[in-house]
Symmetry: C2
Subunit: 119 residues, 2 copies
């Protein structure tokens, strides 16, 4: 019951950011950006069991980042980037902060090079 309630409180954005917090899952998404892959193909480059890799695939699927098609024993996976767009829109709100940092850095560099040219 408690588990069920906790489950319901998890928002799509929680799942997407959670899925992206692991380097194996980010690497799997990068491979899927190149085209459809079977779960076996996705697991291949990683030094882990098939079962462990399949769990990562499942997390990506539950976050809506991966669509699976089952043909007999073969599970084909493709990327579903829509939720990444949602994550990107969330981040866009903060863009002014990191742009500001870059502006400050640029100004500091300009000041520095002016000082040097005066010497």
């Amino acid at each position: 019951m408690l588990n069920h309630m906790v489950e319901q409180q998890v928002s799509p954005l929680d799942r997407v950011f959670g899925a992206l917090s692991d380097p194996t899952r980010r690497a799997m998404l990068r491979r899927l950006a190149g085209g459809t892959r079977t779960v076996g193909e996705l697991a291949e480059p990683f030094d882990m069991s098939f079962a462990a890799a399949a769990k990562h695939v499942k997390v990506l699927e539950e976050a809506g980042l991966l669509r699976r098609t089952i043909e007999g024993r073969t599970h084909r996976c493709r990327i579903e980037a829509g939720p990444l767009g949602q994550a990107d829109r969330w981040l866009a709100y903060y863009e002014r902060f990191w742009s500001l940092r870059l502006d400050n850095l640029e100004r500091a560099l300009v000041r520095h090079s002016r000082k040097r040219s005066r010497k």
Copy 2:
């Protein structure tokens, strides 16, 4: 020792996406976007103990998203959005996928409205 090794394998991007996977922490960042806040002020809107809120603040701090200044007993926090920029650059690689989805949607809408105007 094992903990230490596991600790070292966690990349900055893992921590940033992990920090963003929780709605309380995302809401805290949103408040910090409005200016400096004490830990007490950050905790205030949430139905949780001060200790629980302080843990969320700590996760944001460890992800490099929050800078804390201690003045006596007051901990002042401000946003450090740089790592969000790093997350945004990671997501930018996938932009073509969700743009593509929007293009397809747009084409479908145009087709739909053409059909309607022919009737």
